[in-house]
């Protein structure tokens, strides 16, 4: 058993970087920014936070984390869900944003961009890069996405909602 907590923390982060999000399997749980910290103690607690209050993937995520920890021999680590501070799309990693884009999902703007554009910023089409886009539906296939379409290449696409 590893007792040195920075090492353990790094090991868990590396481990969870290989666990895909159940709804958007192209990004990992660490990319999504829901893995908050490893709290040293006996037992050590892995603090995670949900994206949306009612996200149906929450249970699947906990199960995946448990399985990953168990199969790495880290059975003593407990998983703790905390709501505060509330998850924000700013916690999605840069690598995660690039993977989303490559997968065809427009990644969320960062807080800085949001300040610049407020709510009016158009989504950038992940297929052709055009900003000539239009919202079809404020809600999409999962709680974290909205549905858009590109008026240039005519492709519909998902956009990560910025929260």
């Amino acid at each position: 058993m590893v007792t040195d907590s920075p090492t353990l923390s790094a090991r868990i982060l590396a481990l969870l970087a290989t666990v895909p999000d159940p709804e958007i399997p192209v990004i990992s749980l660490t990319d999504l920014g829901i893995i908050r910290e490893l709290r040293a103690g006996n037992p050590p607690e892995l603090v995670i936070t949900p994206t949306y209050s009612g996200c149906p993937a929450s249970i699947a995520i906990q199960t995946s984390i448990r399985q990953a920890l168990d199969s790495a021999g880290l059975t003593e680590v407990q998983i703790k869900t905390e709501l505060s501070p509330a998850w924000t799309t700013d916690w999605i990693s840069q690598a995660g944003r690039e993977k989303l884009l490559a997968y065809g999902i427009a990644p969320p703007e960062t807080a800085q961009d949001r300040l610049k554009f407020k709510d009016t910023a158009p989504a950038i089409c992940p297929q052709c890069g055009s900003a000539n886009t239009q919202e079809i539906s404020r809600f999409g296939s999962t709680p974290c996405k909205a549905l858009w379409r590109c008026l240039d290449c005519a492709e519909p696409f998902d956009r990560f909602k910025c929260i």
């Binding site: 949900p50 209050s53 009612g54 505060s84 509330a86 999409g140």
Partner: protein, 240 residues
């Protein structure tokens, strides 16, 4: 501004949890029946957010009560008179316009309520409120957009949204009883502005119907609970 609670934290958690739970159930009744696929998705997603909020509030209520009840026990094993949701949340969906007006009224109220709750000295409440605030703001925007489309749409859509306003208006007073009275001016300002944008106005004052907060409900809640609780009542503690 940190608020002084005259309600017990348990009672407050129960109210907010029951509001979210009953309205979540109503919204999910639209699943497969909404006017368009996009609206179907939207209403179900809003319902899902509310269900998550209900779970947080009711789990916390159970913790405060200290009698070993969790969110499931509170949701599935209480009778009507023990529910403390506002009457607005339990009203039948009616047509789409009624549902959307109810959502505008309710989400606007929730936004203001959670802004206040996020300043509370109770860190469990502030955590739930700060998280839910992001969601309910989005819900209120969605509802306002639809009120605008319906009010500023055809003669028929306007007739329906006007009906929705007068139907829901009777349940507005109840949102502002007790310490929530202070939220009313802000709520009225927001709702009146949204209605005005859509060429609509609030109806003449009516005598408000209240009782939900004390457990005196309309006949609709019993039917809602019969469906929601059926499985757990027939097969207590059944699990997936």
């Amino acid at each position: 501004m940190s608020q002084t609670l005259t309600l017990s934290p348990f009672e407050l958690a129960l109210r907010l949890g029951d509001d979210a739970l009953t309205l979540s159930h109503r919204l999910c009744e639209w699943c497969g029946h909404a006017p368009t696929l996009e609206v179907d998705l939207a209403l179900s997603n809003i319902g899902l957010d509310l269900l998550g909020q209900a779970q947080f509030f009711l789990n916390y209520a159970g913790e405060l009560e200290g009698a070993g009840r969790d969110a499931d026990a509170l949701a599935y094993h209480r009778d009507e008179y023990e529910f403390k949701n506002c009457l607005l949340a339990e009203q039948p969906n009616g047509d789409f316009a009624r549902t959307i007006v109810r959502q505008l009224f309710f989400s606007t109220w929730q936004t203001l309520r959670f802004q206040e709750l996020a300043q509370s000295s109770d860190k469990n409440f502030t955590a739930i409120a700060a998280k839910a605030l992001k969601e309910v703001t989005y819900h209120a925007n969605f509802a306002a957009e639809w009120v605008l489309r319906l009010g500023d749409g055809t003669k028929e859509s306007k007739r329906r949204v006007v009906d929705g306003i007068s139907w829901s208006w009777r349940y507005v007073d109840e949102l502002f009883i007790g310490e929530d009275a202070a939220l009313r001016p802000a709520w009225e300002a927001i709702v009146r502005a949204k209605l005005a944008q859509a060429g609509l106005e609030p109806p003449a004052p009516v005598r408000g119907i209240t009782g939900g907060r004390e457990g005196r409900h309309s006949e609709h809640l019993g039917h809602l609970l019969a469906e929601m609780q059926y499985l757990q009542r027939s097969h207590p503690n059944a699990q997936w």
